[in-house]
Amino acid sequence: MSNLNELSITEASKKLKAGEITSVDLARACLDEIKKRDISLHAFLEVYGDVLEQAKAADAKRAQNKKEGKESHSLLGIPLALKDNILIEGRTVSAASKILEGYVATFDATIITKLKEAGAVFLGRTNMDEFAHGGSTENSAFGPTKNPHDESRVPGGSSGGSAAAVAAHMALGALGTDTGGSIREPASFCGLVGLKPTYGAVSRSGLIAMGSSLDQAGPLAQTVADAQLIFETIRGKDALDSTTIAPDTYPKKSLGKRIGVPRHLLKEGIDKDVLQKFDAALDALKTKGYEVVDVELPLAGLALAVYYVIMPAEVSANLARFDGVRYGLSHKGKTLFDDYAISRGKGFGPEARRRIMLGTYVLSAGYYDAYFGKATAARAQLRADVERVLKGVDVIVTPTATSPATKLGEKTDDPLAMYLMDIFTVTANLTGNPALSVPMGTVTRDGAHLPVGIQFMAAHGDESALFTIGKAIEARQD
């Protein structure tokens, strides 16, 4: 491998430690690739002007560490891309929305503080569906990102810019956020590893909130080891997020080799090539000594409906803060009501407006019990279901998405069709379980080889089970 930007984080880190390359070399290689490819891919909303200075500082820190005999963090000097809903002090953050026009973050998200301590280099902020509302990046106020494997297709979303940046080797790894699949689905579409951690494992302080009971930040990376490294760097209890958990909050499970497949969910609506790759991946795991058993998740069929009640409800509450009074876009009308309505009407794109109104509907006095009340009850039952199944198996496995990446514009006119793409990913957000998407090969469409992912979901706090089985799938492809 000749190009430094194509190294995995683990490989690059080894070379940095051995003194074979510098952080500046790595940063330059990424910046060159961005110059070459991002005009057509549009993965970045902004490439920071001080990338090389950050890299120089990382090289200096390494030299200093060496002098003092201190071990350098494996992410020191590694160029990463950041989804545009993660605050970095002093830098523009927009959640790909016009309503945050001109907004400059006033503090660092906790995950940024942790990555700064490690010495990571931040390349820039990446495109996303506005406020993370979507699965294709087509809902960005700044135009869609394209899939590096086939530029007529979407990269997935909402962390589509982060996924495209890593898949096109413009960054060695990236941070995304996942509310209903927004890390895992783009990982599947772009051929990457994507992790949605256990709810509470990673601090949400400084993330622009979408669904507060669902959101988690996590890595998009070339390898499972890279994803694990980023996760272990950003995780941890945080006084600024009262929902964060300690590493020992959940009991540790003994690691076995039993995999549960909810076959009843795979009967219809799934691309047959995806299903064929899925079965091949299961066969490979069997040859590695894994036992594959059928499991039943009776409520999983309802998960998507539950999600599309709870998520918009939380969205409508979280997005109420964008009122044109404290920051961002501000329009004046005749009355105070008009100030709010015009600022929000002009600032939010169509999908954000749709979700705010849906949330307003399901939370309104007349409909609350029928929608939000029922969905909350179903969510608790779903969680009990998943917990029961995970007593008998170590991971639950499904394809990550029902199909490979779709064409740009294919589903933009039908929001419900777009929502149905999240069918396998939303459960982990509703139940708080960790889930990992790992590439399981490619399928061919119009001559292009499109990656597809396999998703593993483990018990709360059991990310290590995901990394172990993820590495087993990876090893099959080497």
């Binding site: 309802l302 409906a305 404290r326 961002g328 501000s330 608790a380 929001p415």
Partner: protein
């Protein structure tokens, strides 16, 4: 299908200006989505999270308060000393004040 008036009422509740052209599309989209999510109506309210029998891990989903001491941010805290930056983000400000519309007016 939900009515035009209902969409307008929702928009008003959500403090969103919508154009008349948009209302029609929203009637269709919101009706379709509500039709789909309406499946949740089939869920029985028995056996929900508030009933016993779930493990300790599940009980973590139960709402409970996590409190921090009610003290000012310490110097060096990521959120301490950011007053000037916060004020700079106001759409309109004067000194350290946010200029907002007068909302209490004399009766006419």
């Amino acid at each position: 299908m939900i009515s035009k008036e209902e969409v307008e009422q929702l928009a008003a509740l959500a403090r969103l200006e919508v154009t008349p052209a948009e209302v029609e599309g929203l009637q269709k989209d919101i009706s379709n989505i509500l039709g789909y999510v309406g499946q949740v109506a089939a869920v029985s309210l028995q056996g929900n999270a508030l009933t016993p029998g779930l493990s300790k891990a599940s009980s973590l989903m139960q709402p409970y308060n996590v409190l921090r001491p009610d003290v000012p941010r310490a110097v060096g805290d990521t959120m301490a000393g950011k007053e000037a930056e916060l004020v700079a983000a106001f759409p309109k400000h004067e000194g350290m004040f946010n200029i907002v519309r007068k909302i209490i007016q004399k009766d006419e």
